[in-house]
Amino acid sequence: AEGVVCGHDLFVASAMEPPDNILKVKTHRRGKDILIDHNYLEIASPTTSTKFGHYYDISKTMSPELLQSIKWHSFYLPEELSLEPKLKMCNMNCGYANLLHSIQRVIYQEGFDGSHPQKKQKNILRIGIQSLGSLLWGDDICSSDTPEDIHSLTKFLYVLRGLLRKSLSACIITVPSHLIQNKAIMERVTNLSDMVVGLESFIGSERETNPLYKDYHGLLHVHQIPRLNSLICDVSDTKDLAFRLKRKQFTIEWVQDNYLRQERNIYPPGFSYLLKQKDSAWGEGSLQHSTFLMSFLAKAPALASRLVRHSEPLKQTGSGRIRQTAELRMWCYGHRQEAPGLLVIST
């Protein structure tokens, strides 16, 4: 979406669904240009007033006129394989080999690698590859512990790295790492990438009930940040990033912010009063406040279960429960039985 709005060229590759669908979903530009709310990006450009990023409404699709204003290339694996099923490149998986050839062709023909110096305007190619390494690309590293060819993915990434380094392009790849059994492959993939970000969802995990994570859908881990052209190999500063996905917004926040916002719900009632007092010795930033917070955080998991139970509204009164059962029975056999007023008491 960013690419379309900035006027960059796009290259979308997928084995799952036709790239047209990917481009249609997810992007509708809203009115103003505002800084995206990442802590990481804020650190990167703290005082410049240049606008970076745009807001998108992910519930709507992008207007076709906007799409037509840029040049985009697509790569849909089932189609490409049917055209050239036998393409081989250094013992690599056929799908990857096709994709590499396609990317190299686009880079060369459109002049992103400087091969057509007479082209006046220099543009950037943004490449997006969906679900690399999954079964749909013909690679079995996701389905088996001892895959047939463990080097395909890493070879592909190395050649892709070479292509990106010598041209004006950037690439984002999604990899279903939760499916890859072989940890060594993930280590090598991380080593060959510049920036590695992991998304961990709360669905089905024990963190779902933790009140710290109440408003969020998952955690964002920044495993590696690019260290190009510099001696410094820093790691990202903030470690507790979580994301939340609403109908119109995908936000990434530092978890502590949300925690502090919720303090009045989490602290025992008496303490809440103390903390809210102006000029109180317990105000934010005071030593007592910090020590209280620290000891409280240590006990948070135990309190969490208590909170969850307490926050459930009282659902049923005595009569309500019976009414519910009666309704169920009435609709039991797909049609309403006679005598709705009868109480059926289960035995």
Binding site: C90, A184, R188, S230, C233, D237
Partner: protein
């Protein structure tokens, strides 16, 4: 560490590459600075030759050591063959300029032979046939051969002194060896390649070799560990860089363990020193554990 008898032909000798910095090891806060050139250049020429240094990093990035060695040897006037597999030439050039050395100038006067792995791989896969008929150094990627002989031939021809220009002592620098494993080379092939290089560079030409092996904290990559440990047994000096065990810290980027092999033929204990470091824009500061500037 128990002694491992090896079939190497290199005679073990006491000494260290970081001679310029060794004096500073005794006091905390010495710097591997880009500006302290004279001490480094004199000692590189005077230090014992034929050494094999292994750089290992686990859980953090140890490439700052590679940059250091590269600028160190270039300033000392040695002929350097740099096999750069992970990054492009401009990356190393920009960092080297911060440390006071220009790679383009070194390449032009013939002091530096730079193999840019990424570019060479692209030429191999997408380029036309080599006009000169020479095989590409990274030919093993295409699967035609399983050994790294082409790469070894490249190293040998670049470091063998052909003309009258006299550079002090050849040096082979590799960044990093784990990439060869990712590209499909077997661990045995990688070890063979290093062995052949040692025979030529260390014993025949009396040069030095510095190799980086990158690992990760969980050590799940068995092939990588195999290569790293095997080379460790044969090294004269091991610089092991790790992240802090307690987590991330802004002022201390990690710990470096310096393991010096006093003699591989006797059963003396190796000398082990541990320091912590912080990487800055143009240099790296080392200090004793727990004595970082932020704490004092």
């Amino acid at each position: 560490m128990t002694e491992v008898s090896s079939t190497r032909s290199v005679k073990a000798r006491c000494g260290s590459f970081l001679v310029g910095t060794e004096r500073g090891v005794q006091r905390e806060g010495f710097q591997v600075a880009g500006r302290s050139s004279t001490a480094g250049s004199m000692s590189a020429a005077a230090s014992p030759q034929g050494k094999f240094t292994l750089l290992r990093d686990t859980g953090t990035d140890g490439s700052f050591l590679v940059h250091h060695f590269l600028s160190f040897y270039l300033r000392a006037g040695c002929k350097v063959c740099f096999v750069a597999l992970l990054q492009s030439f401009s990356h190393y050039n920009i960092v080297a300029q911060k440390l006071g050395v220009s790679l383009t100038a070194a390449r032009e006067r013939g002091q530096l032979v730079f193999l840019e792995g990424l570019k060479s791989c692209l030429d191999l896969l997408f380029g036309e046939e080599e006009p000169s008929g020479e095989p590409s150094p990274l030919q093993f990627i295409s699967g035609s051969t399983s050994n790294l002989k082409a790469l070894f031939d490249f190293v040998r021809t670049s470091l063998t002194p052909a003309d009258s220009a006299s550079w002090k002592g050849p040096v082979l620098l590799v960044d990093d060896l784990s990439v060869l494993l990712s590209l499909g080379a077997a661990p045995v092939a990688v070890l063979d390649f290093i062995h052949y290089c040692r025979v030529v560079v260390c014993s025949q030409l009396q040069g030095n070799i510095v190799v980086l092996v990158h690992g990760s904290e969980d050590a799940e990559d068995e092939e990588n560990d195999l290569v790293g440990n095997s080379l460790g047994h044969h090294s004269d000096l091991i610089l092991w860089v790790e992240g802090l065990a307690t987590g991330f810290c802004k002022d201390v980027h990690g710990e470096i363990k310096i393991i010096k092999r006093l003699s591989l033929e006797s059963t003396e204990q190796d000398l082990v020193q541990v320091y912590q470091y912080k990487i800055q824009e143009r240099n790296v500061t080392f200090f004793a554990r727990g004595l970082s500037a932020a704490v004092l």
